[in-house]
Amino acid sequence: MRDVAVIGVGMNKWGELWDMSIRDIFTEAALKAIDDSGVDHIDAMYIGCMSSGLFVGQEHLGSLMADYLGQGNIPASRVESACCSGGLAFRSAYMDVASGMNDIVLAGGVEKMTDVGGDGATYALATAADGEYEVYNGATFPGLYALMARAHMERYGTTRKQLAEVAVKNHDNGSKNPLAQFPFKTTVDGVINAVMVADPLTLMDCSPITDGAAAVILCPADMIGKYKNHPAVKIIGSGHATDSIALHSRDDFTSLKATEIAGKKALQMAGKKLSDINLCEVHDCFTIAEIVVTESLGFFEPGQGGPAAEAGDTRIDGKIPINTSGGLKSKGHPVGATGIAQIYEVVSQLRGESGERQIKNAKVGMAQNMGGSGGSTLVHILEVI
């Protein structure tokens, strides 16, 4: 396998982009990544998208996006793994370059979620759960994560306030991110007293419905000399694992096995320890998810994720900064784009280009992207060289 570097990143301002189609949203972010890298063409492309068919009635994104990106007849693939479709696109592009098959490869992600109403979005998102044995009986995604939250509270004494602290911290970080959908700050009371969605989770425990895209450009590490716009960032670890699609089929609802396995694989491949990681973007689709993920990755002992969030350990100036971008909570969650936007944040931090939310001496960063209620997970580790 060849060593692979990320030489360009691009992302647009996320939100309710009424005047933009899915092709415009994707192409805008992809062009930014191409410009950022300095490449004059790409050899292949991977697009993470969860459900353009249900959200905008459009499949076959490989063809559509390669055409609108002006890249003619290149091989272009749309990949899907629910909310970690973006992470999967990144890993697919990484494997493509590492294998020697292609040199300059774009990994992107996109979702256009506001062309359907709230109920249409709920329906589309629910297809990431077990259709016949969860959704049929009335399960929703906030509901599934609420089941995890209740189990975590019962087992470890995790508190309502600790969940809220995750949202408060992520909105603090997001307020420093000019691309975030909801860059406002909030408070513990603001989260707890928001409208109830699935007890104990309120609207402010949930990531929003978002239109957006992000893209990155990969090339073999020995070619980066040609593209010197920024400090080069190498991909040093990639882990991918699955678990049962139905939450109820798992032995434990208070940890995420696919995340645990993917995290270990990525660390092993990178030859790094958790203590080497300077920042981590995690999949906080709901506040409880950030707590469980930080435990399953091993940053905190089981049951200690809540107290750690409350103590400020995960803030930008904490022991391990989590979601400096604002996370899915504040930055937004256009599902297929989220995994690539995490890479965007990690690369920006490692380059020292994160402005107000820049952490000091960031050398190694991690990104964890998760599908459904944890049925699939991608973990990547990057290092500045």
């Binding site: 629910a126 009335g138 109820h248």
Partner: protein, 130 residues
């Protein structure tokens, strides 16, 4: 909902028919073609008794359109004594009286209706054992 999609799940939803691995005894609900525990491919039909303990629950206040008239409704995961976990709505109990660890049994209930002219969809809900 296309009738065949509904119809083919009836053995599970109406009669609680699971599959029991003839190799290791693993209970598959719904049925599977291969045992995830031992790799065996032979199962015998096994009717769940349908009683167990509530492992976790939530009360859903914002529901999908099929359940919008039911909100707020409780949803839980029950560990069946038969050795399999099931997700379903919790019914016939005040929402404030639900507790993790409580004993529940499965009853046959209407789950949703497919619009004004579509089929009624039936299945199971959890009812407290008193």
């Amino acid at each position: 909902m296309f009738p065949s999609r509904y119809w083919r799940e009836i053995p599970h939803r109406y009669r609680l028919e699971a599959g029991k691995c003839t190799g290791c005894g693993f209970v598959a609900f719904p049925r599977r073609l291969v045992c995830p525990q031992c790799g065996q491919r032979e199962f015998e039909t096994f009717k769940l008794k349908g009683e167990g303990e509530l492992l976790t629950y939530t009360v859903i206040h914002v529901g999908p359109s099929a359940f919008v008239d039911d909100t707020p409704y409780a949803l839980g995961i029950v560990k069946m004594d038969d050795g399999v976990n099931i997700t379903a709505q919790i019914s016939d109990i005040g929402l404030d009286n639900i507790e993790v660890g409580g004993r529940y049994k499965i009853e046959f209930r209407k789950i949703q209706s497919d619009g004004h002219s579509g089929i009624h969809a039936y299945g199971y809900k959890f009812i407290p054992i008193r």
